[in-house]
Symmetry: C2
Subunit: 411 residues, 2 copies
């Protein structure tokens, strides 16, 4: 015998978007060492952890240093103190309730949105919005749920739901039958949202077609407008068809601290081929207890602390800071006459490139003429061509400077 | 269409070993509220984090609270400060060197030993020692690499390599061809080890048969005897055929803190069906960058601190404490005339049950007559029948009390 690799891995495109962005930015900087490049490409936060979080985090580390308060292996699903805080603070105010064992704490929404496909059979058809967060696509390619990538930049076997200015970034229902639909709203990368009515269309589709919605709500904390659902569970019937992913990465600046959670309602039941009725909650619990060993105890205490009054106050200040940046970016582009989206309920601004300029060309113009690094929309999928994403995570000063420079350009 | 679950999940046995152990212990306690039960079943540490670790951990949390020292997304593969510390302290003293990008930091050896099978094709035959840490088996069942469980307690399609007192707990080479071999030495659950010569037999087998060894060295820190390899890379040629898993869980009491690492040498090359030569290092890097987002920054700083002089001193005190318990358990059983294994280079003692008493019966006797909770060997696989595992992680006082009680029993 000869050991065989998982050949699906070879189908993945090797040049990863952000690697190429970094390469071009570094090359420009090397050739122009005197230029001050402002990076507004990657979606990483910059504000430090809130004081309340730091204190709770340290206190829990101190606990780990004493026999009587030491914590060894915790529950793979997370501690109930955090599960309870999430239910009480994130969902009860929306009129939604869960049992503790419907909340799974993890070390990241990337991990959860990447791993969730394991509990589904290989023979499901998946749909993604286009443009899209690459993890949804790549993890299904790696699992063998697709064919190779085609000339149009789409993987064979995946159903793409375009979100462009032509449809106001609201995906249409799939025309062909699909089993699993990934939705991310507020959207990465477009920054646009769905209204309750628009999200209801998808929930009803899933109910009527025995499909499942994987709802990524990682950017929920940026929602400012009314009628934008904070959770898919605000939509009647969603508990029977939807799994929701949430994260502290953006909410509380946890990108380097690592904590997230996923809701898998016990109401989601699927009939197996042997007629056994199986709860997705049981399958995800099996996945997590077999392949995961829980989140660091001090990190869970740190996450819990954001639900205190002072913790809320502090993280909201940080979010307001980013929202102000987003507004500035958005309004600067609009003033320049470019069609601009997102940036209201989202840290992402999605700008239409000037006529005749494609995503990478626009990226190069901003890099070379304004020394600002964005992310080419085409990197997020075929329907992202002709757009560019800027993020609101830099400082006010840098954001203002970047938009001043860009505003001086003429297209 | 109707969404389909991953039906391989239904093949997994539902009653998990430690759940049943807990259930019986709790039932006994409820019926006998005055009894003082001593738990020596689960492999979880009890000593608090070392002072040096607590300080480094807190200092890094403090860094996260300031703009100029804040850390957002880190490298998915881990920070180079920790990769470098691992190479310098764990491998160079053994005469083994690695590049930084051969060391992948993760949140647990359970995660890594569970996820590693993803990078291999479904059509590989795997071999495991028997008894075995259930994660190796279950994750392959969930991936579809096996048939259902058979009446003998083995999964169809997996090759089991018995480790019993008949072969001195040294597995024989598989008689049928296999592609991937899981080895864990010092072994969980038997506590026994392989000599360099014995491990060389497996490395040579892998080289000659184009097989891969997945070597779990999670208990390496308990090795006290000469000629017991600390790493599989001490064996010539292993860098071409072996992946090694290590963890801070036992080494530094990180079971609740979560940090581990996996070595995937760039020398391991496999030819794909299209003749492309693929490095497993690239595949694992792809897996980790797509489905993982790195370990919490303060946790990585905490792990790094154990490599300071003071850190080493402190964690070695804890390990010596556990080793002393293991010795006491081992010697007490030997004095009782029971065949007893492990407990020298391992926190696990593996005791042969008295004649005519099976694993669960012996478990019940210890629970009911000595109020001591162990783990029935049969829970680790068919060849574990007739054995019971006790762990060295309780306090000296409790361990001594437990062995005093057991010593008074007659079999």
């Amino acid at each position: 015998m000869v050991v065989k690799i998982n050949e699906n891995y070879l189908l993945i495109q090797n040049s990863y978007l952000f690697v190429e962005v970094e390469r071009r930015a570094n090359k420009y900087q090397e050739e122009n060492p005197d230029k001050n490049i402002i990076k507004m490409g990657i979606g990483d936060v910059t504000k430090p952890l809130a004081k309340t979080v730091v204190k709770a985090f340290k206190d829990a580390v101190e606990e780990m240093g004493h026999s009587d308060t030491f914590h060894g292996y915790g529950p793979e699903q997370g501690y109930d103190f955090l599960q309870k805080a999430i239910i009480d603070n994130e969902f009860k105010p929306l009129g939604v309730n869960f049992d503790l064992d419907e909340v799974f704490i993890s070390d990241g929404a990337k991990c959860d949105t990447g791993n969730i496909q394991e509990i589904f059979g290989i023979d499901n058809t998946i749909a993604v919005t286009d443009p899209v967060y690459p993890v949804y696509v790549d993890t299904n390619v790696m699992a063998g749920r697709t064919g190779p990538i085609m000339d149009n930049g789409m993987f064979e076997g995946i159903v793409y739901l375009p979100c462009t200015e032509e449809n106001d970034f609201v995906p249409e229902l799939p025309k062909e039958p699909v089993d699993i639909i990934y939705l991310c709203f507020p959207n990465n990368p477009t920054g646009e949202t769905l209204t309750k009515e628009q999200l209801t269309v998808f929930v009803n589709y899933a109910i009527e077609n025995d499909a499942i919605i994987l709802f990524d709500a990682a950017y929920e904390c940026f929602i400012q407008e009314e009628d934008v659902p904070h959770s898919i569970y605000e939509i009647p019937g969603a508990k029977k068809v939807a799994i929701e992913f949430r994260s502290y990465s953006k909410t509380a600046g946890f990108t380097g601290t690592r904590c997230a959670y996923t809701i898998v309602p016990k109401d989601i039941e699927i009939t197996a081929s042997n007629k056994e009725i199986v709860k997705l909650n049981d399958l995800w619990n099996r996945r997590q207890t077999t392949k995961f060993n829980g989140v660091s105890y001090p990190v869970q205490r740190a996450a819990e602390s954001i639900y205190t009054e002072q913790g809320q106050k502090e993280i909201k200040e940080n979010l307001a800071y980013y929202n102000e940046n987003a507004k500035l970016i958005r309004e600067s582009f609009l003033k320049m006459g470019l069609n601009t989206y997102g940036g209201v309920n989202s840290p992402y601004v999605w700008v239409k490139t000037p006529e005749g300029v494609d995503s990478w060309k626009f990226f190069d113009i901003l890099l070379e003429e304004a020394n600002v690094v964005g992310t080419p929309g085409s990197g997020f999928g075929p329907s992202g061509e002709g757009y560019l994403r800027l993020t609101a995570f830099n400082t006010h000063e840098n954001t203002k400077e970047a938009m001043d420079r860009i505003s001086k350009l003429s297209f």
